[in-house]
């Protein structure tokens, strides 16, 4: 197990990248702590798989270095890096039995048969495939195959990190929950550094201690699920995480006042005079519907009842505002105003969070 340091890492699939847009992965500096569980979250094409493949060594970065502890492994092949990777589609060796699949990485490393036997049995117990060890891997269901490909990674004791590339894509919904929980338990039990790539926020937030959110080849925020929710550092994070995402409204800021349209909202902090593209961000959970004419006037378009709460789809001068309101709080005809919880109101300049 090892700490993984990315230093000045960047990658372009073009031979001679000219400007920023040519990079699939823009310069990133980051340290993955030993033994932590990370999720790499972002929409398709944001560069997360590129980053993962650089860490595993399947791809050589255009610039920068990858360090495992203090060793520079940038030039090393995947097989020399001692990492394990679980792919989007389960990779098993069809013609081998489950046992042989698990033993394969050890046999290739020419370890003693006794050791292989005991190690395979141990891992089979951990991933719960003991009963089917003698079966051919071919006819098994996708979730078991995915477990086996994970097992092939775990079987080596010296793995530095386990990398997951959207491993639950082809798994049935009811098995997804189970596998995700098992992964979490495995992580607590074995303590490997785990990096989990996904575009599903639920997967990322439930699996990881820390989530790395990426957009357009750039890391926009690294934080705990709590931090991503409370203090999104970039409007993309606010928008991408949460359902519905953060409300983002065009605004002007004058000291401790935000001006939306011709309505003034007093802020808790003094922002001085900001310039550039200014936006106010607030989660639907922190907006409430009131009948007080001092609050922001809104037009309610639609109310969605989602069971234990309601989502109110409204707008203010054409800009969308979503409000999440608890089921029990009644909604009356006069409630045409929105109040913001000022402790959870953020101001963004050119998409980035402003801290006064």
């Amino acid at each position: 197990m090892a700490k993984i340091t990315l230093s000045g890492l960047a990658h372009s699939y073009l031979k001679n990248p000219e400007n920023e847009d040519d990079y699939a992965l823009k310069t990133i500096n980051h340290v993955w702590e030993d033994g932590a569980a990370y999720a790499l979250l972002g929409p398709s094409g944001c560069g997360k798989t590129t980053l993962l493949n650089i860490i595993s060594g399947l791809l050589k970065p255009s610039s920068g270095q990858v360090l495992f502890d203090t060793q520079d492994v940038t030039e090393r092949l995947p097989s020399e890096r001692n990492i394990a990777q679980v792919f989007q589609f389960p990779v098993v060796y069809d013609t081998m039995s489950v046992y042989d699949n698990l033993a394969f990485p050890l046999k290739n490393r020419k370890l003693s048969p006794d050791y292989i036997e005991s190690r395979v049995q141990e891992i089979a117990r951990i991933i719960e495939v003991e009963e089917i060890l003698t079966k051919k891997a071919k006819g098994l269901s996708a979730d078991i195959k995915q477990k086996i490909s994970l097992g092939r990674g775990l079987v080596r004791e010296d793995v530095n990190a386990i990398l997951f590339d959207e491993p639950l894509t082809v798994i049935d919904p009811h098995m997804k929950w189970q596998l995700r929980t098992q992964l979490k338990v495995l992580h607590q039990k074995l303590g490997h550094t785990m990096i989990y790539v996904t575009h599903d926020q639920t997967e990322a937030l439930t699996f990881a201690d820390k989530v790395v959110v990426m957009s357009m080849g750039e890391v926009v925020q690294i934080g705990t699920p709590q931090e991503l929710f409370e203090k999104p550092e970039h409007t993309f994070v606010g928008y991408f995480i949460g359902s519905p995402g953060m409300n983002i409204l065009k605004t002007q800021v004058n000291g401790n006042k935000a001006i939306i349209g011709n309505h003034e909202i007093p802020l808790h902090k003094d922002y001085k005079n900001l310039s550039g593209k200014l936006e106010l961000g607030i989660r639907p959970e922190y907006v409430s519907l009131t009948d007080n004419p001092d609050d922001l006037p809104i037009t309610i378009n639609r109310i969605e009842d989602v069971g234990h709460y309601k989502i109110i789809r409204a707008s203010h001068q054409g800009e969308e505002i979503n409000i999440i309101s608890k089921e029990e709080s009644g909604i009356s005809e006069n409630m045409r105003f929105a109040r913001f919880d000022l402790d959870h109101t953020n101001i963004y300049a050119n998409n980035w969070l402003v801290t006064p």
Partner: protein, 291 residues
């Protein structure tokens, strides 16, 4: 319980029956018709029962042709299948100009009409004007496919390998292309050797197309006629007289329509039987694996 019978339903299958009748059953029946009768012309036929079949089954000439046929088919399968896999493995995997060029070059022999292939090799192998024959002769081989049985076999086998390995290559290449990258990446991480990659990833994934390739090559080579007929005409002597060459000699050369018809039916049944065995083994082994 009352059961409704609706005889009109038979009309529903009529078009299909008619189609099969005209395309397969009726032509086959004319052959069967010849195979159980003798004729001396004038449209006079005499019933002979299974006599022709007995004659063909006991015929030494047919036995020899069958043995030659089996040897020929085994040799070309033993060369074309491994060679085809080998070439497919070394084809460029990435799409691009180079890959397209390779594919076109590989596919070229498949586009040439069979009798033209025969003519090409007939000339190619001549010791006076053919490049192959002349060169072999010059470097000291006693090569003459019109007089020497070994040389004739060598020429025909090389010709078939040249003509048909491409088919195996293309099928295997398609099989290889369908393997997702993740398999190779996983194998790299598992530190699999090149041989293990072939044995545990590529070969299992190619199995389906490979069996089709073997079946096609078996059937085609077992029925081969045009190319050896053009190159050697079945000679020297009867050295390269394969089943279909022998059959044509019997039917058209000697005008023994009865025995030739019996021969055709037996020939057909042999191919059907072997193909059926291939197919069953294929399907069976597939089933066994998924248990």
């Amino acid at each position: 319980m009352r059961k409704t019978t609706n005889q009109k339903a038979w009309f529903m299958v009529m078009p299909m029956l008619l189609l099969v009748a005209f395309s397969a059953i009726i032509p086959l029946m004319t052959v069967v018709n010849y195979s159980v009768q003798d004729t001396f012309g004038n449209n006079e036929f005499f019933w002979v029962g299974l006599e022709w079949f007995e004659e063909i089954l006991a015929s030494e000439r047919v036995h020899d042709a069958l043995i030659r046929q089996i040897i020929f088919t085994s040799i070309i399968l033993a060369i074309e299948v491994p060679l085809g896999i080998f070439v497919a493995l070394n084809m460029p995997k990435k799409n691009g100009l180079w890959a397209s060029l390779c594919l076109v070059l590989i596919a070229l022999p498949l586009l040439i009409p069979w009798n033209v292939v025969g003519t090409i090799w007939q000339i190619f192998g001549r010791i006076d004007i053919g490049l192959l024959g002349y060169l072999l002769d010059q470097i000291g081989f006693d090569y003459n496919y019109t007089q020497d049985a070994t040389a004739a076999w060598f020429t025909i086998i090389i010709m078939d390998v040249w003509h048909w390995t491409s088919l195996v290559v293309l099928l295997c290449y398609a099989g290889l292309k369908s393997i997702p990258d993740a398999y190779y990446q996983a194998a790299k991480i598992d530190q699999a050797s090149r041989w293990s990659m072939f044995r545990y990833i590529e070969l299992p994934k190619m199995k389906g197309v490979l069996l089709i390739a073997i079946l096609l090559r078996f059937m085609d080579s077992f029925m081969i006629y045009t190319e050896p007929f053009v190159v050697t005409g079945g000679g020297p002597g009867n050295a390269t007289t394969f089943l279909s060459i022998d059959l044509v000699k019997m039917a058209i050369g000697q005008f023994d329509l009865g025995p030739a018809a019996a021969f055709s039916i037996i020939y057909f049944l042999v191919i059907l039987l072997i193909s059926w065995v291939f197919y069953t083994v294929m399907v069976h082994s597939d089933k066994e694996e998924s248990v």
